[in-house]
Symmetry: C2
Subunit: 191 residues, 2 copies
């Protein structure tokens, strides 16, 4: 949990007492690969901080899985729209590898918001970061070629995700066919 | 400003004293149609609450304007990513009609965040709403047909925007050619 403490301290500067209050609300879970933590049409009850592992969010479109987000060690993941609105999720959240996560529930997070203004600030910053991430992705998907999208992924994603992610998951994330991804990778290797 | 007070009261429940603190930070501006309030590559200094009028955000893609958002009476508008990150905007914010807006600056909003935890909560809620709006739009643009996108617009947008918005602005917002929009409208009128 040391990494989570460091991250919170960077984001909102917390005291030891505040950290104790926060960490008491967390539940540590060891989760096997390919476990669904949130299913489509369920309300997302938790947000997750990843100690180790690899997870994804995805939705079904014409019976195909479309990946929308990946996260690994020391990152947050959630089906965020369902979590903040407490309405049924249109996405699934699943572990790709065996993972260890700390979950915090909607109810407990809102207790923190009420108890300490600093955690309200944390909620604002997380929502703003999610907004920026969604905007970047929407812009990328609408305006860039397959090659540009792949280059952006290689530049901006965590090294572990780049190394561990199966190619078919990446192709679905980039909105391109697996064959197009292979072609793009070959082109880049040649150049 | 009565409508802004009502909205804030619904969102965060504010006292008269808190409203006085908040409203003292606002600047009222009367702005002619087709005035740029934020230009591409500028840092967005303000967020706007619209008393009356019609505004849009848009960016340039291959020298064409692509509309990303419209707002009218009693709604907020900003080039939100630039505002929250205080980095240069990739979008423009412009009045379509003559408008009256209340602007609040980044600096003053952050003073409010520091002074009253309720305003921190407001910041969180606004960021969450922006996230949901962006997500809905990204999902709509990626998965729906021209007809579905038009139907969604007619169902979910403010009546004034539907009435006042020039068709070429709407076509660019929906990511379809003006001729396709005309065809879709004719199809719906016939059915």
């Amino acid at each position: 949990m040391n990494e989570l403490y460091k991250m919170l301290n960077e984001l909102i500067g917390i005291t030891e007492a505040e950290w104790l209050t926060f960490s008491a609300k967390l539940i540590r879970r060891e989760v096997k690969a390919k476990t669904l933590l949130v299913s489509e049409s369920q309300v997302a009850k938790n947000i997750y901080f990843i100690e180790s592992g690899l997870l994804r969010t995805y939705h079904l479109q014409d019976d195909k899985e479309v990946n929308s987000y990946f996260a690994c060690d020391n990152q947050f993941i959630a089906t965020f729209s369902s979590f903040i609105s407490q309405t049924p999720s249109f996405e699934n959240l699943e572990t790709i590898d065996d993972s260890i996560v700390y979950e915090i529930s909607y109810i407990k997070l809102h207790e923190l918001y009420d108890e300490h203004r600093k955690f309200e600030k944390l909620g604002r910053i997380l929502a703003e970061k999610n907004y920026m991430c969604m905007l970047d992705r929407a812009y990328l998907m609408q305006t860039k070629t397959a090659k540009q999208k792949y280059m952006d992924f290689m530049e901006n994603y965590n090294e572990k995700i780049i190394q561990r992610l199966p190619q078919y998951h990446l192709a679905s994330f980039l909105g391109i066919a697996p064959e197009s991804l292979s072609r793009v990778r070959k082109e880049i290797l040649k150049s």
